[in-house]
Assembly symmetry: C2
Homo-oligomer: 366 residues x 2
């Protein structure tokens, strides 16, 4: 088996770049990219654009044509071995006569992991696994989360002042961050299968929660809007119900949902946790609905509750260069955290300037 | 008059670097650095180390000896023209026969500004003013503030979590930030003529507020410790009264200060603003005591009050990678800021990593 060289890394990096082209449209499928190299020439590139459309490998094979024979195939995810909406990619690679397949990561489904590579290996194709694995896993963190934990990847977005305020006590909270941050949030939404908020935010701000940037091509997809509304207080007249895309209202059951349903909402009842809908149950349901990534854009009550329950995978904090003072609402309402020992450590993943604001991306430390 | 060249800038940058060597010991004098260049050779360097000791120019002239004749002198502050603790530097430069003097900034005293350069010019020396002026003014922001506003430069240091908490409601606040940030605070203290806190912090934490790092040579100087204690609640047994350096307790008057005075504190009464000592009056008194820079290390009550009164010149926020939640104390208590319009904009001057923490240095926008 040949050694991994810088050239291999460059091709895999390119495959990851291609994969990311599916960031706004491939879901619920994973993003996958593929590069086919014959005799040091890139002869084919492909990525997975839309569920139901061709897989990355098939697109790359089509571009490579006859030159796929004997070629090296770099692919960010193990080629599939099963008949889904399309025939198995492993079969197509074998038929094309490729010589070697380098995959960044296995299929995360326990039951199928390794099957695609096995099929290739059995057919005499050289097979290698793990090149740039962590980058590939990070790219599809949502897909991996759904498949392995039956829970979407939960990303919580917060806009706050540098002293951690998200609103004044009087409720004022609009435009804490600037246009750059708002444009950035459009991209977060476009990558998410669902955008979740609480009824408090809906009643206070009547948010749209849709993707409306002309710079983002989602191929018509909108994230599912999810509103946690235990007592079903949402008026049928809210703005989001007039917009393209679907809205799921999560209640504790027992209320009349006629008006909302007539206005186009889906209303579903979930197990309650005290007076509130159990958010873990809602997340499980979203995974069953093939949602890979949930973006939470909510007030401190819901975001704090997710933190308390250790249900947050990533925080994206847009920090505006302002001091808002004490007559404000905090980032997170966490009534159960009463001592310093309750605090959560963060692993800072990225700090970027977005217009006048600073974007801090962090995961919660175990 | 010759044009300013990159070589001039390099020499002035060096002079600024030399000036900064006095950062822990020159006060209440400004930091000043001087470089003497003859025929492209640096023939003398000097800086001002201690009040009462030689000025930067004299040290540089001494190093240059005969080679000062006809030389160019780069100095970060206009040479003095008056007889203070030492004879005037302008005179010494004239006697040494220097050919040209390049000064970064004028003496900020209105009454003496320009006098030193005038004396030089009258003696036939080429004189130039303003090279790297803003860097020179920033270096001596405290001295300039005291001289021009009769108020020290007020720097407020805060240690907080990323969600803006400075303590738990139960009072726990120790070690929010890490050892790197604490070492950095030692440097801030060592540069300050006074460290100010409130009686609440003294009663809760019994802080030392001294410079104790072995890496910092203050030539024995300690910042004046200033405690705002309107009702004179400070016990004579507090730790700071056992440490080297002086302590000033600021009260509203009318209380018995015998115990504190016996324990070594100076107790002074100030005009009250409501129930509290008027902090602006205290700052004015500190300027009269020749304090250039005040470092405020206090709880949200005092820091918030300084912000409300627009008395903060610079914020230094050490942000720890933690989420502390809502059962916490805010960075700043600002009861008068009730709407979003009351918030203050920040000009971020610097963002640095200090150990695990992020240090944000900012000024308040007008």
């Amino acid at each position: 088996m040949p050694e991994i060289s810088p050239v291999d890394c460059a091709h895999m990096a390119r495959a990851l770049e291609l994969a990311e082209r599916g960031q706004f449209s491939a879901r619920p499928n994973p993003m996958v990219g593929c590069v086919i190299v014959n005799d040091d020439d890139v002869v084919g590139e492909g990525w997975h654009e839309l569920a139901g459309a061709e897989h990355a490998e098939i697109n790359a094979l089509r571009a490579a044509g006859d030159r796929a024979a004997g070629a090296i195939v770099y692919v960010t995810l193990e080629p599939c071995a099963h008949h889904g909406k399309t025939p198995p990619c492993a079969e197509a690679l074998i038929e094309a006569g490729v010589g070697r397949v380098v995959a960044a990561m296995q299929d995360p489904h326990d039951k199928v992991a390794g099957k695609g590579l096995e099929m290739l290996s059995d057919a005499g194709v050289d097979v290698e696994l793990g090149l740039m694995r962590s980058a590939a896993e990070a790219l599809n963190a949502g897909f991996v989360s759904r498949v392995t934990r039956n829970r979407p990847f939960v990303r919580v977005k917060v806009a706050a002042s540098i002293d951690g305020a998200t609103a004044m006590k009087n409720g004022e909270s609009q435009w804490i961050t600037g246009p750059g941050a708002r444009a950035d949030v459009q991209r977060l939404r476009a990558r998410a299968g669902a955008v979740m908020t609480g009824i408090g935010t809906v009643l206070a701000d009547d948010p749209s929660l849709n993707v409306r940037s002309e710079d983002i091509d989602t191929r018509g997809l909108q994230p599912l809007r999810v509103v946690l509304d235990s007592r079903l207080r949402m008026p049928a007249s809210v703005r989001m119900l007039t917009l393209p895309g679907r809205t799921l209202v999560c209640c504790a059951g027992g209320q009349d949902d006629t008006g909302l349903v007539e206005a186009g909402a889906e209303v579903a009842a979930y197990r309650a946790d005290g007076e509130r809908v159990d958010v873990a149950t809602v997340l499980e349901d979203l995974a069953n609905r093939e949602v890979n990534d949930v973006l939470v854009e909510a007030g401190p009550g819901l975001t704090g509750s997710l933190l308390e329950k250790d249900l947050v995978d990533e925080l994206v904090i847009y920090q505006a260069p302002h001091i808002m003072g004490s007559e404000t609402r905090p980032m997170f309402e966490t009534p159960s955290w009463t001592t310093l020992a309750d605090r959560r450590g963060l692993e800072i993943r990225d700090v970027s300037q977005v217009g006048d604001d600073t974007r801090i991306t962090a995961t919660i430390r175990d």
